[in-house]
Amino acid sequence: MVKRYFRPEIELLSRDALKELQFKRLKKIINKVYNLVPHYREKFKRAGVKPSNLKSLEDIRLFPFTTREDLFVDYPFGLLAEPLEKVVRLHTSSGTTGKPKALFFSKEDIKAQAELIARSLVMSGATASDILQNSMTYGLFTGALVMHYGAELLGMLVIPAGPGNTERQIELMQTFGTTCIHMTPSYALYVATIIQERGIRPGIDIKLKRAYLGAEPYSEETRRKIETMLKVEVYNCYGLSEMGGPGVGFECPAKDGLHIWEDAFLVEVVNPNTGEPLNPGEVGELVLTTLNRTAMPLIRYRTKDLTTLLEGPCHCGRTHIKIARILGRADDMFIVRGVNIFPQQIEGVLMSIKGVAQNYQIILEGYDEMTIKVEIDREFFDGRIERILKLREEITERLRQALQVRPKVELVEPGTLPISEGKAKRVIDKRVL
């Protein structure tokens, strides 16, 4: 296969040259926020650092983290490093409580993020003749618009479908010959199920080639399931509104980790409790610094996403570092009977068991009791209760082995657990302590 690149001079840049470029940009942006953003100047002063302390890339560790709480200081415009007249776009990201995070972008920022998307799409094999059905939420959420701009920059035909209305989604795919879709993995599973139920044949009635799935973490098993059901290549797509939305991390055809465009971001992984830097291979919280953001640069932003750095050259030839698929949110982690558990671990086990359908829910209640509701696969039921009992036993045992905690497993009918067309709510904590 011919290797294609959108910006080869950046994507194939040697590690040394890339680091040099990063350092140059980091120095500039640290100076900029120190001079133009009172909150950053204040933070740097409190930490006892000045821009002149930055003598190498590693010196980034001297500078304080930016957390989501910082985004609410001098809200909403307090972190702007450009006058309002330079700002052209607002995106928000819902917090769990109270006001949404307000994120601002200049014309240059919009263009730069679109380029990251265009690079990523080309990386997946897409060309200007592809047709992208964009089924993320348009509006305040970055997911749809940022992808939209990037796909247009590449020259793809974009169908701004938005999420939901599954009948119409499938109709659009059939009518216009959609080749690429962009949606959440939980919605992709749902769409795939409906397509199967309707007897629509992937590869014949619909001609999807690639699915860009992101905005919520998912397991390798889920990827495989979707790939089989829809006959597509699934590319994991990572982003967060604070960092400009999708396009921050994207898989190449090696499907072994997500490249982060290092000319745009400085990447760190730290211990979520101590903030200490971690080595490649160690799981911790992803921390990102924007290197070319103009309107609202963020320094050492704590993403709350858990991952690990993957070093070494990539088959695709790109020199930019890779991270493992997101293993969960630092916030999603819950503790049952003293054991740290991520919903992803549970999903991984469930998706590898025959007889289990797409959806599940984790309920924590009473004194540290964990109940996992699992939808059974319609085709699995042969009429005998014994078979169901055996399935329940298998699920319970496999989960016990993986988690070191024995859950109570409840089997439910497919379609009865909530399917979210945005981010799936998997854990319900009803424990009273």
Binding site: F381, G383, R384, I385, E386, I388, L411, V412, E413, G415
Partner: protein
Amino acid sequence: MKIVEILSIFAENKPGKLEKITEVLAHEMINILGFSIASVKDFGVIKLLVDDVDRAYEKFKEKGFIVAKLPAFGIELEDRPGGLYEVVRKISAKGINIESALVYVVETRKRAFFVFEVEAPHRTWELLKEENFNFLETSQLRTKQ
């Protein structure tokens, strides 16, 4: 092999579940000839002998139920004290283990069928076919016995 097909439906233990199932049959004018419920705390399996098993199966599928067809044996017995005992005695004498069963009464106090599932239908048939039993078959359900 003379078998009778029964329907088996997976159901979570929730109020109104049996109502929804019987509603489908009522709406379709399908008659329930016999049924049984096996339940383990959070879920159960409801088995039904109906007069139109294929149509009932399709309708349940259409409505999103988890449903399967199961082969069972139906043996006629006299609806009187000792009637079931006489049949079951012969079955157990052959070492056949009954997994699940229901009864279909054709005429009260006269005739009924003992409908049961086994693990290995073919082997069971070999053991029972020489017995002097009247076996129920799916095709007989459409018309009145």
